[in-house]
Symmetry: C2
Subunit: 357 residues, 2 copies
DNA sequence: CTGAAAGCGCTTACAG
DNA sequence: CTGAAAGCGCTTACAG
């Protein structure tokens, strides 16, 4: 027992040489720790002379404040937790970068988790962030959605919640969304204006709000232009490059095949469409029009370049963070449901431009 | 004064309804908080009966442990801090995703900061993470490098440090690197084997180790194949798409222009080369060979597709996290400098394949 | 197996 | 302007 203790002591000693605390500084200067705290926090009244003395000594002793302690005491840790399906997907990486810009300016930190599209992982992420006492959780739900109890639990614990992009619609929370429906309407209308009439839709999982909205936009645009809906032109769950390629093969094998395909799920889907079209010797955009979603970097450099929708993802990240800080400044009780909508932008490129531009 | 206090109380009350603590549970069960703590931590001896009672009550009262408190007490917060130049750059996003996989498995969290390639920001990030008492800092230095005092400071504070990719070479720390030199040797040798002889190099900022090593590899490969070095074929700081395009124009305007360009800085540079080549009507790979670096997603789908080097970035993230956990298990004093090298892989595509493959 | 007590490092009303 | 004291919520040696 004694041996064991001694051993640990030695190791710790060699490793840490014990960090300086405000008590160390106080002792050295024959002051009380509370004065040191006040001088360092730079907020309460301390005489200029002692403040300077304390700051100098702190620097000299290489003092680093212990955020854990001050956070515990203050009951806030100036941290925002982020849960996304996948960190290294362009859209989410941009959101995170956008969040970071603003949170950094405000002296906050980001704790990041990824759900990997799994419901179970998402629940675990939420619990971890609640335990960490983050001030706010910013999240986009996993495709595998089962239940929203864990999300409600965030609010029960007095933690602010901002949902973005993929959200649990029914919950009364702060939300930052893209206007997916409107973007879809514009994309499909553009295809109609280019002369396409048999427009197919590649859909994402309909349990996610964003994919439902994109489908609604597609239907709305067809209605507005008096084009009849042909169910066989709508393909469900075509949301990866492979699934989209497969769906495209099926579509093009129809007796009355589509003359345009709106890959509403992603640009990777659009890429799948383009691949199959090239394989089959169809010219794009003349024989087949294509529109994707997300404005991934590669859409600009494919041959032909791909028409798509830019979601302003970095700006969206900024907007989310700004929303948090604005709400946090208001009385804690004041924040009800509130939605900010970002307007995506149709980027017209070669894959849908029959009339040269 | 009293008013003020009352106001705060109300707000807090309405917002939080006060989270359950182990004391609340103890009081309810007529036990001591220490027993509750032991039952919940699941480690010390508690009778099966009381353990069950405590766990049930905790669930019923919606207890969420306060990590801040336990971390402060234990002096560790099971968190790894990450500092990267840019979160939404593919390589770093992949590294982060790779880190997250392993840290998650081990019950650790990630706190992420981005330096935006700025030295000042990097120093601030380091300080924040030190104050947060993270167990480890994983970092890749900003391009704007001034001094390594902040990095030394990490170790002075008893925090483990793992440098990766872009590192301060002189410091004795754990390092996880790509074998940039070897990758360059292979890329340039491949170009030689394809019959290219006047091979130009686009270099990155030479204050970063990775770009120095890639240049060394280039020089080594030329030497090995008995090809003379022509300084006018080596362009410094060509590390964005625009700068590379510019450098390419200059190179191709030479009286004896290159027949291949190794864009050692990134695939975006390679893209800049490809653009200019297309503009000037040069056929790739016949009249000009191109090789990039990083294996960005788009390199597969450009026309022609781009030969490049895959850095196994997700696996590199995994390796970094595993290194931390392995070292952490060893005695705290035992960890000296140590380097893990990941072997990148040359991906040969059309842009450098004169002989069809 | 359980309880009582100290302490992690800080902040903040309360006195003076 | 400064000091003394309590407390944030937990963990952990020490007794029993």
């Amino acid at each position: 027992m004694h041996n064991n203790y001694f051993h640990i002591f030695t190791a710790t000693n060699m490793k840490n040489q014990k960090r300086t605390t405000i008590y160390d500084i106080a002792r050295k200067l024959n002051l009380n720790a509370s004065s040191v705290s006040r001088a360092l926090s730079n907020t309460s009244k301390v005489s200029e002379a002692t403040r300077k003395l304390i700051l100098d000594t702190a620097r000299e002793m290489n003092y680093q404040p212990n955020s854990l302690a001050s956070n515990l005491r203050r009951g806030s840790n100036r941290t925002i937790g982020v849960i996304v399906p996948r960190i290294n997907q362009n859209f989410f990486a941009d959101i995170i970068a956008g969040l970071e810009e603003i949170t950094y300016e405000n002296g906050y930190n980001l704790v990041i988790c990824q759900s990997n599209e799994s419901y179970k992982r998402e629940v675990e992420c939420v619990n971890t962030l609640i335990n960490q006492q983050v001030n706010c959780i910013v999240m986009s739900v996993a495709a595998e959605f089962e239940d929203d109890e864990h999300i409600r639990n965030i609010q029960k614990n007095g933690i602010r919640l901002i949902q973005f992009d993929r959200v649990a619609d029914e919950l009364d929370t702060l939300k930052v969304l893209n206007d997916n429906r409107q973007a879809s309407v514009e994309a499909v209308s553009h295809l109609v204006e280019q002369g396409y009439r048999r427009i197919a839709l590649l859909e994402g999982p309909q349990n996610l709000n964003i994919f439902r909205q994109r489908k609604e936009g597609y239907l709305q645009a067809l209605a507005e232009h008096g084009i009849e809906v042909r169910p066989e032109l709508m393909k469900v769950n075509a949301w990866t490059q492979e699934l989209s390629a497969e769906a495209t093969r099926e579509l093009l094998a129809l007796s009355d095949p589509p003359d345009a395909i709106f890959a509403s799920t992603s640009d990777f889907s659009a890429l799948g469409v383009l691949q199959v079209a090239t394989e089959l010797g169809l010219t794009v955009p003349d024989q087949l029009g294509i529109c994707g979603y997300s404005n991934e970097a590669f859409t600009e450099i494919t041959n032909p370049s791909i028409t798509t929708i830019d979601q302003h993802s970095v700006e969206m990240g900024n907007a989310i963070a700004r929303l948090y800080f604005r709400e946090a400044k208001l009385d804690a009780t004041a924040s009800g449901p509130k939605t900010i909508t970002i307007k995506p932008q149709l980027i017209i490129r070669e894959s849908s431009s029959r009339h040269k531009f």
